[in-house]
């Protein structure tokens, strides 16, 4: 039997180990970014690549071919940054939604966001060529969430079960509308719609980053700043009220913030599955259910997870594989392993 002192020592070691792991996970995006920037179908010597990046930052001239600079700063860098932004958005939104809904099966798409976005993108691709796919997807994703929320709200109260059911209904309506568009369009437009729905970072550009970043930043900042309140919301409405928290007010704040972040991600990258569901779960299994750590870790681990997976999508084979396909193929077995090695998936 270990003595009291030994027990305290072991507990301290565990805490220290977990703290180390916490900081390691927080710094993951740096490792992921600096390993991914070297990976790509266009081979650039790592030394030259570092030199080029340094020259850009420090402002000195180099005599490398122009194409090196283009590949790094116009192709690889925007794709990595967009991937980090999308991964972070989906993961943080997923963690927030899972907390609000007190349900492990919830993803950022629970309120009809993805169905609305897919419908908006399809509408733009099929019938509104003058309207940007990105803006149409964004508008309809938020419209879907708003419809879900208002459908579920009665007597100034929004029960979780009603929200989930309303989300199912709104998703079904938008899925049906999408099906009508798919039936009506030409084969060429149908192909574009299907590719968009699969989700990809293949068309990343600075303009996409500039347009999506403000909403991503706004949504994620709000969730980061208010993250401890998710712990209270996760206890239930009655418990939240008993500690002086207005659950309706914070539910709206989190739903709006998470929807803004996730919509901005979906609008630029299509529907990338499983990230918003699996990443928060993985973290919960490792670090426990406390949202004070879960939200920042979701931000960093989600960003890292997506760009590492995208490394394979863009450079693993000779052709581009939609990253949404690989997130599922990679995420599912990893998730299954953690599920089998932890109790209750980290919810206890």
């Amino acid at each position: 039997m270990p003595s009291q002192t030994e027990k305290m020592g072991m507990a301290r070691e565990r805490i220290t180990g977990r703290s180390l792991l916490y900081y390691l996970f927080l710094s993951l995006p740096l490792f992921a970014f600096f390993s991914s920037i070297f990976i790509g179908p266009f081979h650039i010597n790592p030394v030259q690549l570092v030199d080029l990046m340094a020259s850009k930052i420090l402002g000195y001239a180099t005599d490398y071919p122009d194409v090196y600079s283009t590949v790094i700063f116009q192709v690889r860098l925007p794709r990595l940054l967009l991937g980090m932004m999308v991964g972070a958005s989906l993961s943080v939104s997923g963690a927030a939604f899972q907390g609000i809904f007190r349900n492990p099966l919830v993803s950022p798409y629970i309120l009809g966001l993805s169905s609305g976005a897919a419908f908006g993108a399809a509408l733009s691709l099929a019938f509104l060529p003058g309207v940007s796919i990105q803006y149409a997807a964004f508008f309809f994703s938020l419209l879907a969430v708003a419809l879900t929320y208002f459908m579920a709200t009665t007597n100034r109260s929004t029960p979780i079960v009603s929200l989930v059911l309303a989300g199912v209904i709104v998703s079904a309506v938008f899925d049906s509308l999408l099906a009508i568009i798919q039936i009506a369009v030409s084969e060429r437009a149908l192909q574009s719609i299907v590719f968009w729905i699969m989700g990809s970072l293949g068309t990343a550009s600075w303009s996409k980053i500039y347009s999506a970043f403000p909403l991503f930043a706004l949504g994620c900042t709000v969730m980061l700043l208010l993250r401890w309140r998710l712990n209270v919301l996760a206890l239930g409405d009655e418990e939240a009220r008993s500690v002086g928290l207005n659950p309706e007010k914070y539910k709206i704040i989190f739903i709006v913030s998470a929807s803004l972040a996730a919509s901005s991600a979906v609008a630029v990258a299509g529907i990338i599955g499983l990230v918003g569901l699996v990443v928060p779960h993985m973290l919960r299994m490792i670090f426990g259910p406390d949202h004070r750590t879960l939200i920042p870790l979701s931000l960093t681990f989600g960003a890292s997870f997506l760009i590492v997976v995208d490394d394979f999508a863009r450079a693993g084979l000779g052709f581009e594989v939609p990253v949404g396909v690989i997130t599922t193929l990679v995420g599912a077995p990893l998730f299954a392993y953690l599920l089998r090695t932890t109790r209750s998936g980290g919810w206890e």
């Binding site: 790509g40 179908p41 266009f42 081979h43 071919p65 122009d66 194409v67 283009t70 590949v71 116009q74 192709v75 690889r76 060529p129 798919q182 039936i183 030409s186 060429r188 192909q191 574009s192 590719f195 293949g202 068309t203 550009s205 600075w206 303009s207 996409k208 863009r314 450079a315 084979l317 000779g318 052709f319 581009e320």
Partner: protein
């Protein structure tokens, strides 16, 4: 009865047997593009066409009255049907078969009582083939064109379906003659003078693999498909989708866009979303071209020789500067369908 009466009755009987025999449909066994053997009447007299390029081939060789119905296709209809109303005076009155997604309306098909349905399919288990065979018991000819040889084979097939094999041979000869107008020039081009070409389908980074009809078209037009330099697993796909970085690595001299409603060559050269392509030869030298009319320059239809000439002229403008494209297009349409283009006046 007198012997002369017997004689007359015998002659009448023979005539009765003989007359229908001379007009009756011959039943022939043919193989469709998927290798399925089907029995059809030659000529088939109530044919439903659900694809425009096969109909274009049929109208070049067969009797338009034998076409009873078409697919209700709305995309760029006027462009798609350009010569059809002139070739077939009853074209506007053809029955349209409704289509939901990819599924043909079986009831509207049944209503026209076809003796042959011609449709696009990539597998013998195509749901439309199975449904039509199971319910209507009508032979289905599957079209699946993946190479330029398939285009010539389609002409032969339409000759059998229409019972007009002589005209089919004639059409093939005309096509081959026009192809030679191009290949006689491009065959002389040295390997080092052949530009690397990236074929850009409407999904932008989707292109033509090495084992594709477009690859053959690029070769015949005096170019080299840059996918020959890509990773093996990508080049062997019929329609590989690559990414921007791979395209930069392949560094094509020419980007050839299939007709794209949302993009123009100028977008690729100067567009904000394509800044990453600014250092490839095709963009630096402004050698980005587009197939402006997907039906006039359809490489998988009898107009393949025009598509070939269109591409070859862009790849080697100096070698084709004496070719009057408008006149060639007009003459080709006259030779194949007897219609002037673009005036659409019967020749």
């Amino acid at each position: 009865m007198k012997s002369s009466t017997y004689f007359l009755l015998a002659v009448a009987f023979c005539l009765l047997l003989a007359v229908p025999a001379s007009y009756a449909n011959e039943t022939v066994l043919i193989e469709d593009d998927l290798g399925r053997s089907i029995n059809i009447g030659s000529p088939s007299e109530r044919v439903v066409f659900t694809m425009e390029n096969a109909l274009k081939t049929y109208y070049a060789v067969g009797d338009p009255d034998n076409v009873v119905a078409l697919k209700d296709d709305k995309w760029m209809r006027r462009l798609m049907e350009d010569v059809f109303p002139v070739v077939d005076p009853n074209f506007e009155d053809k029955i349209l078969i409704n289509i939901t997604g990819d599924q043909l309306g079986l009831e509207s098909l049944a209503k026209v009582d076809p003796d042959l349905v011609v449709l696009w399919a990539s597998s013998p288990d195509d749901p439309n083939i199975l449904a039509i065979n199971d319910t209507l018991k009508v032979p289905v000819f599957a079209i699946y064109v993946t190479s330029l040889d398939d285009v010539y084979r389609q002409v032969d097939t339409m000759g059998i379906i229409s019972g007009n094999t002589d005209r089919a041979s004639e059409v093939k000869e005309i096509m081959e003659g026009y192809v030679e107008l191009t290949t006689n020039v491009t065959d002389q081009i040295q390997e080092s003078d052949r530009p690397g070409v990236f074929w850009m389908w409407t999904d932008i980074y989707g292109t033509a693999g090495v084992d594709s009809g477009i690859n053959d078209l690029i070769d015949m037009a005096g170019g080299n498909n840059v996918m020959k330099l890509a990773e093996e697993e990508a080049q062997n796909l019929e329609h590989p989708v690559i990414n921007q970085e791979t395209l930069i690595k392949l560094n094509p001299d020419v980007i050839y866009m299939w007709y794209n409603e949302d993009l123009d060559p100028e977008d690729i050269i100067n567009g904000e979303d394509f800044q990453g392509l600014r250092d490839i030869n095709a963009v630096k030298n402004r050698r980005v071209y587009e197939i402006s009319n997907p039906y006039l320059f359809d490489a998988f239809s009898p107009r393949m020789p025009l598509a070939l000439l269109h591409v070859a002229r862009d790849l080697h403008h100096d070698k084709f500067q004496d070719v009057d494209m408008n006149q060639t297009i007009d003459q080709y349409n006259v030779d194949i369908w007897g219609v002037h283009y673009p005036s659409m006046v019967k020749a």
